[in-house]
Amino acid sequence: MKEIEDRLSAYLRAKLGAPDLVVANLARIPGGASRETYRFRARYTSGGKQLDRGLILRRDPTASLIETERTTEYRAYEAFFKLGLPVPEPIALELGSEALERPFFVMSEVENCAPGTIMSPDPYGPHRQKVGEQFYTIMGRIAAADPRKIGLGDFEGARDVHAAAMQEVGRWEKVIEEDEREPQPIVRAAIRWLKKHPPPPAQKISVVHGDYRSGNFLVDDAGDIRAILDWEMSHLGDPLEDLGWAIDPLWAGPDPGRPGGMIPRDEAIRIWEQASGLKADPKALLWWEIFASLKGAAIWISAALEYADGRNSDPINAFSGWYTLAVHNKVLADRLAELDA
């Protein structure tokens, strides 16, 4: 840790033009399995003032839960920070390997708050209504933003409203093709169903967060969402993709009627529609819900393979291969059997 502190100090001194900057208290923190995440303090003088800032370092791992474009998350933070959404302030992006052996970025630490956990039966307690209203409103604001106007018009993903759905199916089918070691008949049936029953065209092309769910945002003691995190899978596509993912049963906890342990599903959809100015057509949303479980399965298959092959022995990857893949197989089997009846 001391070596990383010293190297990070040197890097930030040059980057921020602060010759007296010192990095202290660097410690790895859990979460964000696709990047190594560290918390630290940066102490330096700026404009004659002595600063003591809490910052976060996100460094590329040797192998990750899902391969993600390293600039994607940083650029999403830049765009939505400027738009006034609750995201950490991006500070520096380094694509070279000289400073810390692997590419990384630094952002502000949003202090005195915590994420909800999907393992908790009631992650937001008395604040569930307030958190839920904010959660779906922010998601709607992301959907409403024009990617070109916020500088993300060149993001990876779909450009054509007619192609967005099948492009995503193709993307995750490829991951499954590459990483599946154990035949997955339910997952294969889901891919066939999604291809045979395409949804209506997207109402617009938006920035899709890609992992917008309970557990990927920070809440303070008053029940205010202070930061939406983990944008590394963000891309351009149908905004219903985020809604389908957020209400997936995997995040539901003990009450499937309250996705993510927040507000009832119907209320969630209504708030999202108001904030986005879009409609959540039930047929289209059903397609994106089934897609969400397929995408989840693809991620878990990929994570399990990385663990089994010894490329990433973070226990969260083994957990993904065991627990979450089994849940998504069950969700898909129940839903597809019902649709086929």
Partner: protein, 143 residues
Amino acid sequence: MRPEIGTILGFTAQRIVMGLGDQGAAYAQGSAGIIAILLGAAAKEYERGADIRFNENAEIRALFGELAPLIRDDGLRRELLDAAGARDKSLRISDLNEGNYALRRLLTKLQIDAEEHGTPATRKRIWSVLKAMADRRLVQLGL
């Protein structure tokens, strides 16, 4: 189910030996929590792993035997009948998996055929087996 228990126990032991605490207390605490959940699940999987695979394989073979006479494609019908009459090599997890993977591949072929040519009753019967497989493989958390 991947990764198998042996892999999880091996990597977990390695991680503990190398030291969970060298990257900070918060990370160590988070890792220890997930490791505890994994080991609890591994203990349950040790007890039921062979049973799950043995019964799943038997159920798929029974399905093949039941539906094979309804299949028009000669090659697929023959494959189904051969698989229905086969047996697992042993009760070792690796042998049960080997048989299971072959059965799962053939189950997908059967379902594709049923989606094209089968009756609603045939498709429902296949889904009943897939649903049972999904239920059986759910992992119960907790120590």
